[in-house]
Assembly symmetry: C2
Homo-oligomer: 321 residues x 2
């Protein structure tokens, strides 16, 4: 998950002067924001500050973030022809600013800490491109998928190839691991996942794996079809808090696991927060690999001392374990 965000006063201060997009597009600012959480907390990795939607612009879709409403895409995909009109993008040119931010952060970190790059998975990106923003029921996405399966598959194929290239470019710029975010995949049932998404996520993950760094594959709401999700690939399966990690372990025998504290737990009193963090650490075990993380993005109202307490507990536990 993003480590920087509105819960940090120094991030809010910067946001007084710059928009999210300005920060993302200015490598010096993106680098500074990426490093902010590392100055406060002894986390074990940095994650590049960027946004899932940044590749939309070079594809030809204009968007912006509206106060309190999330992203709005001004010319979403609504017809088959819109898919044909998408511009193939070259990460090295069109998303240079992110790659420059990655290089800057990697240089700052040196051997001290790994840097995680990231990109959206085909389904989640397609859902934004079709809905024109966030969605509750993903009605437009599903209608498009059911009514125009050929255009749907060519859209997801396009996204899988370009997003994989984008991640490979992040690796060449210095990312030492990458995460593929399928944040809204849980809108689909297992049947639709298998028919409309799995081949494309699998292709993307295979291509990304060739980049030679560890790959984390994350989604929310896939507790009902964990096995199918994991089969897409990835060295690490990232999960949200709706699954029991011990049960997940029984299914995911070959892959490491990442997760899965409910971000809302960070709003709990310390005692309850510690109890739940410890419960997760126990459920997760360590074989074949475990990365502690939140189950989704950190909430803006999160108290800093709670983040610190969790980081310390996880470290103490790792040393003991």
């Amino acid at each position: 998950m993003r480590q920087a965000g509105r819960y940090l006063p120094e991030y809010r201060a910067l946001r007084q002067k710059y928009s999210i997009l300005q920060i993302c597009k200015t490598p010096e600012l993106a680098c500074r924001v990426t490093l902010q959480p590392l100055e406060r907390f002894e986390v074990d990795a940095a994650i590049i500050f960027a946004d899932l939607l940044l590749p939309l612009e070079p594809m030809g879709l204009r968007f912006d973030f509206q106060e309190g409403e999330g992203p709005v895409i001004f010319n979403p995909i609504s017809a088959v022809e819109d898919v044909d009109r998408l511009r193939p993008f070259q990460p090295e040119e069109d998303l240079r600013f992110i790659l420059d931010a990655v290089s800057r952060v990697a240089a700052e970190l040196g051997d001290r800490l790994p840097l995680i790059g990231f990109a959206g998975a085909p389904f989640t990106l397609a859902s934004y491109m079709i809905e024109g923003g966030s969605s509750r029921n993903f009605e437009e996405t599903k209608k498009f998928m059911y009514h125009h399966p050929q255009a749907w598959h060519s859209l997801l194929d396009f996204l899988a190839r370009h997003q994989a290239a984008f991640l490979r470019a992040q690796v060449r710029s210095g990312a030492s691991a990458v995460q593929v975010f399928d944040s809204w995949l849980g809108a689909l049932g297992p049947e639709d996942f298998r028919n409309y998404v799995q081949p494309h996520s699998t292709a993307m993950l295979r291509e990304v794996a060739a980049g030679g760094v560890p790959v984390i594959h994350f989604a929310t709401g896939v507790g009902g079809y964990l096995e199918d999700f994991a089969r897409c690939g990835g060295d690490v399966v990232g999960l949200d808090w709706r699954v029991d990690l011990q049960q997940a372990r029984a299914i995911l025998r070959q892959q490491a696991v990442q997760g899965n504290l409910d971000p809302a737990c960070l709003l709990a009193p310390t005692e309850e927060l510690m109890r739940q963090t410890e419960a997760i650490l126990k459920q997760a075990g360590t074989e074949p690999g475990y990365i502690f993380n939140l189950g989704h993005g950190i909430l803006p109202s999160t108290p800093l001392e709670n983040v610190r307490a969790v980081v310390e507990l996880v470290h103490a536990y790792s040393i003991e374990g």
Copy 2:
């Protein structure tokens, strides 16, 4: 799920003249709306037209439905004292209008079709009462739960007892089965579910079971902890489309299953809709009991002919099977 709704032109016509609350509070209108889908489709049961939030008013919480925004509760629970101030309600008096609607529909149906009554489960109702409406992250609900566990448990205990009494009253008025809706339960992970919700849902279901009619226990987003959810009770476990019914069957050996077509599938071309409906019927099997249903509420943009096609396919399949 509700059978009547905005996808029906005759319902939209009535909504030109009456608000949702006016329809719910006028037994003659609630009865008429309950019967609307039965005049169009050969469904196997009627479900009373009502709203989960109706018990809020006698408890002392005022609310209304705002156009396009869902429900708004004007005086939500924000402090421990608000829980103490909740008024115990008597379904026979305070929710007489629903019971009268149930009697009317039951009388109209006679032996022709069963009528299903329903009520909200403790968690989902509490989440509305605390959030003051619909929610994305259920931040206020979880904060209340973590910070005031004692008040939380007394709130859920209060709701479990009163909602069970409400369902028992619906049975006495003529409902031949009842459904407990925990629509937003999937906001919680398994650990929080077990600690903060399971005892109350279990108590409610035990009390409802004593009413002597079949009980359906429904939630969305619990694919990651199906076993714990099912252990609360209920003759039938109602599931959303995020789980594979065949896999669910392997876990839920003692209970019947209800579900789970994605409501968005009804927006698909007929061929795809038929394929998916058939896939579900095959996955579900028949032992120990199966009720075909949508995985959540029907979408307003659903074409009538698709509803008809699904009902016909399910019937044809039931006869063959």
